[in-house]
């Protein structure tokens, strides 16, 4: 259904870019605060760290990594299109290329992040 909307891949690329961007921004607020905590109250920071190391935390980090990787790859695609407008013809192909890299890099990455859940 999403693919048949007038905007097609370009609209999806934009929507995912926006959603992943807002998600990363939300994590950034948390992340700067927790690193600030490492300085002012190391013991409290180490407590927060237990959440990052927990199964729920790891699933969250995998999702964060996915958002980061998509945003980075599609962001590069935006820059290419912005500075070489002639390449706009290939914007769909570049979007699919983003997804190929996303899967090739993301699947092993997700495995590494999640592995301690079942390896203990």
């Amino acid at each position: 259904m999403l693919f048949r909307y007038r905007g097609g891949e370009g609209m999806l690329a934009w929507a995912f870019h926006r959603i992943s961007g807002v998600a990363i921004w939300t994590f950034l607020l948390l992340h700067v605060l927790d690193i600030w905590l490492a300085g002012v109250n190391p013991d409290a920071y180490d407590e927060v760290l237990k959440i990052y190391g927990s199964p729920v935390g790891r699933v969250g980090e995998m999702l964060l990594g996915a958002a980061l990787l998509y945003h980075a790859l599609n962001g590069l695609r935006i820059i290419v299109i912005d500075f070489w407008p002639a390449l706009t013809r290939f914007h769909r192909a570049m979007w699919y290329a983003c997804w190929v890299i996303f899967v090739v890099v993301g699947v092993p990455g997700a495995y590494l992040i999640l592995k301690p859940i079942w390896n203990g």
Partner: protein, 133 residues
């Protein structure tokens, strides 16, 4: 190529034609984006692939992660990139979905939030003591 076709075939916003501050922001979004492509992806790789999140205690940050001035400088640079890029990105989102007084209030809130977060991050990276060796 200009007009509607350009609008539906790109994910980014068009280059501002007015110049000045908005044009500077447009370029800086792309520049900080490139900077983050390197620093943020490297940061995520270090904290998730080279090391496991579970071992990164406050003591580890002091001894290993921020044990050198070079790493602190890189991370502080990344902080500058990410605060500008993410808060200016949120400004675009706010601009798209709100208008009038709400837009002004939320935009001012974002500028204030960016300043506070940059200050907190700078305090963290600059004030943590180095290990004694």
């Amino acid at each position: 190529m200009s007009g509607p076709r350009r609008i539906i075939t790109r994910a980014g916003s068009g280059r501002p034609q007015t110049g000045g501050w908005e044009l500077a922001v447009w370029y800086l979004m792309r520049l900080t984006g490139l900077g983050l492509f390197v620093t943020a992806l490297a940061h995520f790789s270090i904290t998730h692939f080279l090391f496991d999140p579970a071992e990164q205690t406050a003591g580890w940050i002091l001894d290993e992660r921020w044990g050198s001035l070079a790493w602190r400088t890189v991370d502080w640079l990344m902080l500058g990139f990410v605060v500008f890029h993410s808060f200016m990105g949120m400004r675009t989102v706010v601009g798209d979905y709100t208008r009038g007084g709400v837009r002004v209030a939320l935009t001012m809130g974002l500028y204030l939030g960016a300043f506070v977060l940059f200050a907190l991050g700078t305090i963290a990276v600059a004030s943590l003591p180095f290990p004694v060796d």
